[in-house]
Symmetry: C2
Subunit: 304 residues, 2 copies
């Protein structure tokens, strides 16, 4: 059996770009990644693409996949003008990569859509018709994956920007530049840092921050469950990785749903409903690999 094609994967975040290559998702998971800080598009992209060009010179890449911060305007094929990353407004992945790699097949989607696809194919959402991946990190985002395909619809989900009830006694104005006290404004890593003047990992487990954080995230989970009815929700990101938070969210979801949906996943078995990523912190870069591989397969399919 011949070796599968080599795919390049870029997880493009607001603070760093994580780059990897692999023939399989396991290789991507286990490969040493190359990390480039996200600064200006010119500087960042030349460093990112130099690295892939060096890999490409050794063994030709057959496709690239990008899991990118957003919002992404798929119609315009560009990072949306409303991204808080001002220098990246209007940035075009397709054009930037074509300038260096010509017509190398490229697949790109949001970071959370990509991670959702990876969790569906190889992680904690395998076999589920409807799944949601949420990341709680510096920002909050999420993707809805139905039968393995990320739902785009009008644009793509922007789950961090829902509104949830403010908890009693919380008078923090909220950190979202667009919405103030939307979920991201109240419960993202940035919100935690602004509210408590410490980062999540610096706050002790018994700090009141965690009661508040888990309350907001539980309300978000309930809203997602009531609107999109996923069979599983994968909760990833740096804030979610703080010890004990997932368990607190589970407890509060059970209380908030109050038995209304007759499914054990929202009652006794909420630990099977709200789960950590099966791919650990690699869902995004493995998702980028999946997008690249899918773009390659599409490029090889006989045209209609």
């Amino acid at each position: 059996m011949s070796e599968p094609p080599l795919i390049g994967a870029i997880e493009a975040g607001g603070t760093k770009m994580v780059c990897a290559v692999g023939h399989t998702w396991r290789e991507v998971r286990d490969a040493p990644v190359h990390v480039v800080p996200t600064t200006t598009p010119d500087e960042t992209m030349s460093r990112v693409l130099d690295w892939f060009a060096a890999r490409h010179a050794q063994t030709p890449l057959r496709a690239l996949g990008v899991a990118s911060f957003g919002p992404i305007d798929f119609d315009a094929d560009a990072i949306a003008a409303t991204t808080p990353k001002e220098q990246w407004r209007g940035f075009r992945w397709r054009r930037a990569i074509a300038e260096r790699f010509g017509d190398l097949p490229l697949g790109y989607d949001t970071d959370t859509d990509a991670a959702g696809v990876a969790e569906w194919r190889w992680g904690a959402a395998q076999g589920r018709d409807v799944s949601v991946y949420v990341t709680v990190g510096t920002g909050i985002g999420g993707g809805l994956v139905i039968n393995g395909v990320p739902v785009h619809g009008l644009l793509h989900p922007e789950l961090g920007h829902i509104y949830v009830p403010r908890q009693a006694g919380d008078d923090f104005a909220g950190s979202c530049p667009s919405h103030g006290d939307c979920l991201e404004g109240l419960a993202s890593g940035e919100a935690i840092a602004q509210r408590w003047h410490r980062t999540g990992p610096e706050l002790p487990a018994d700090h009141p921050a965690w009661d508040l954080e888990s309350s907001y995230l539980a309300l978000a989970v309930v809203n997602v469950a009531m609107i999109a009815s996923p069979q599983v929700m994968v909760l990833g990101g740096g804030v979610m990785a703080v010890g004990g938070l997932l368990e607190r969210v589970r407890d509060k979801v059970r209380t908030a749903v109050n038995g209304y949906l007759p499914r054990e996943e929202l009652r006794g078995h909420v630990d099977h409903y709200l789960v950590a990523p099966g791919l650990g912190s690699s869902s995004g870069v493995i998702g980028a690999f999946a997008l690249g591989r899918r773009a390659l397969d599409a490029s090889l399919a006989p045209s209609a």
Copy 2:
């Protein structure tokens, strides 16, 4: 060309059952409907099924479709034990209809899923990959339709039971028996009646009730847009039919999104995004027709 098969349609609501027959959706829309009050299952169903039996004796029905209140436990093939309609807990559509009509093909789904399918096929959501139908009446519900198929996932969406921020000065406890001040508890027809001691249609257009109502509904619309990213949302139901409410909701959605999603549907063209049902108040019964027709087609398809 032969006449299409005759299909029976039941829109099963908490206060009444709307029954119709037709060969086409237009016939169902235009046919005189038969209305039976929803009391006990025995009493209601014998009256409903007597009526269909009389139609069946004239021209044989080829299938029945039911658009039912919920929650529905599809795995158990029954109305869920958590429905507020206590006498209907555990009621089985399939069994009740089989007792009178044998193996007549039956399609059933929630009322909002059915209405969503009808609006997608023949109404205001035609041609959209991702659409949402919301009803604001005695209760609040909604269905998510992707490529014409209602998303069930864990159970089915229960959009009325999301949590949204309470508006300043609103100290009404909420009317939802399960959740208190979820969206349904704050903004359903029942909530309006409990809060203002008058029904929606009795409240004048300049009553503060409408400012509050439109605020809650706008927050719900934003949450749906951010989680499921529909290309259109159809807003139906008795409360939504009150003059001026849809326009108020549109204004507040534009403000709440604050330009974040780079789509004109959520900026200048929100009147193309938040729309009244194309099928008027008939979405539910026409949806039941669509479910019946789909069940017939499935019964005729060669088995795998």
